[in-house]
């Protein structure tokens, strides 16, 4: 009964925690500029994420090590320093972007400039991390995040043509602005397959003491939860395509993106969009900061754990506090959260090969996963997608930046 409860809770919170600043902004822009045409990018990214999350849970359940700890042991600090520093830097940028997104959500409700909300939101995130255990962070925020299902409801009410949606699940060549199209495809993958999610999930499996016998729970939660989460992300794209594209609105701010809810929710459009954006972004911010503590502690061998008394894990607490403070500094400097999000998620794809490829090696090493190694199809698929994504990102990011 407990396993079924864990399963349902895991799936529900995966759905609630799926959408955040990156997925909302990339899907909204993709829908407004290219209609349904980039739905395939969400589908592929969701499949990749589900596979990787399932693997990271399996690694933890079998080896009793998180992803960061296993990479340090298997490849040494000489290799790990590359993904570690890159991930920490991008996570800090993403954290600033998520807090900025949550601050804009409050601005939508209050009218007060978003910069004023950055420090209070950072303080609230820190207080949650300081005072609450893993369950509150994972399940509490995930359950609140179910408000993001409003994107799916909105898309459903707008009655999109089913055949167009199905046709868009196959990659196609754009009729205009191919660099922008490729950049958005890369950004969608980066926003969905955030490397922090992999270590966060493997650390969470250790926090919850997942046993080898519960691997089936891990598998079902990962695939079902992430696939439904992907549907929420598709809901953003479809709503944006049906509402914003006909009016030629390209959302270059979250305030403009909120307009996509108007035809369905009318006077409740802005409050509902603000709630979905705010909870999604704030939840991701708390997870990002917590993961920064996890990664630092696991790489250097410090005591860690959200469920541990803070006095027993002072360096872990100092790590998430420091990363949060750095992100707040970036936020206070006034970088536009939407632009920061798009840049961070695109950069994520560049570092992805350094994160995913060693992880795939670990998932085929019997010293870590015993008999639970990954199959050849999954290995090849993930390796190819990661390398293609990384190469594509290296080409399109400079083109996009140079093109303004």
């Amino acid at each position: 009964m407990s396993a079924i409860f864990d399963l349902v809770l895991g799936i529900v919170t995966s759905i609630g925690g799926f959408v955040e600043a990156g997925s909302i902004s990339t899907a909204a822009q993709a829908g407004s500029e290219f209609g349904f045409q980039l739905l395939w990018a969400i589908a592929i990214a969701t499949l990749m994420l589900a596979m990787l999350v399932e693997m990271s849970g399996r690694l933890s359940a079998v080896s009793k090590r998180s992803m960061a700890a296993a990479v340090r042991e298997r490849f040494g600090i000489e290799f790990q320093i590359i993904p570690f520093t890159a991930e920490l830097a991008i996570d800090t940028l993403l954290l600033a972007a998520e807090i900025g997104g949550a601050a804009i959500a409050i601005k939508l409700l209050s009218g007060v400039q978003w910069q004023w909300w950055v420090i209070p939101l950072g303080g609230l995130a820190w207080a949650i991390l300081w005072c609450c255990g893993f369950g509150v962070v994972e399940y509490g925020i995930g359950l609140l995040g179910l408000v993001t299902l409003s994107f799916v409801y909105s898309a459903w009410r707008l009655q999109p043509a089913t055949d167009s949606i199905v046709a868009s699940l196959v990659p196609s060549v754009p009729q205009h602005d191919s660099v922008r199209y490729a950049f958005l495809a890369v950004s969608i993958v980066g926003a969905t397959v955030s490397p922090y999610l992999l270590n966060f999930y493997s650390s969470g499996s250790l926090e919850e003491k997942m046993a080898e016998e519960e691997l089936w729970v891990n598998r079902v939660t990962s695939y079902v939860g992430m696939c439904f989460g992907g549907v929420v992300s598709m809901g953003v794209l479809v709503t944006s395509a049906l509402v914003l594209q006909p009016q030629h609105i390209v959302p270059d701010s979250y305030e403009q993106a909120a307009l996509m809810f108007v035809p369905v929710f009318h006077k409740w459009a802005v409050p509902l969009f603000a709630a979905a954006l705010g909870i999604g972004c704030f939840g991701a911010a708390v997870e990002l900061a917590l993961n920064a503590g996890y990664v630092c502690s696991q790489v250097f061998g410090w005591s860690w754990g959200a469920n541990r008394p803070r006095r027993d894990a002072a360096r872990f607490s100092a790590a998430f506090t420091l990363v949060l403070a750095t992100a707040l500094l970036v936020g206070v400097l006034g970088f536009d959260p939407l632009r920061l999000t798009l840049l961070s998620v695109a950069l994520t794809v560049v570092i992805m090969p350094f994160v995913v490829l060693p992880f795939l090696a670990l998932m085929n090493d019997p010293r870590y996963v015993k008999k639970h190694g990954s199959g050849p199809i999954g290995n090849v698929l993930l390796a190819v997608l990661t390398l293609v994504g990384g190469l594509m990102a290296i080409v399109v990011i400079p083109l996009e930046v140079l093109g303004g």
Partner: protein, 117 residues
Amino acid sequence: MDVMRDLADKLVLDRNGREIGRVDRVLVNMSTSPPRVVGFEVGPAVLATRLSPLLGRWVAGLERALGIECDRPLRIDVAEIIDRAPHVRVDRLFSDTPARLVEDKIQQALPRLRGAA
């Protein structure tokens, strides 16, 4: 002993299972034949030296500036190893290691809220 597999970069636990750090440098006596592992070291400066000697000197300087250089790096003799798998467990107590000093200093700096109790 397969040094790379059994020792390098492994998590080091004290005799009660508390994390001390990771094996940042393996000490090998090259004067014997064959060369013999005599112990290992734990500490950020040692770890940084593996990446670059200059970085190692910077980190050692930072340790001195923060007043946490005492007894660093932590050197553990191979005879003190109790267990090597899944983690390296040694016959030491966390409270007797330099890591304790760092944890104490951080605890003094961070506020004592409910979570810290």
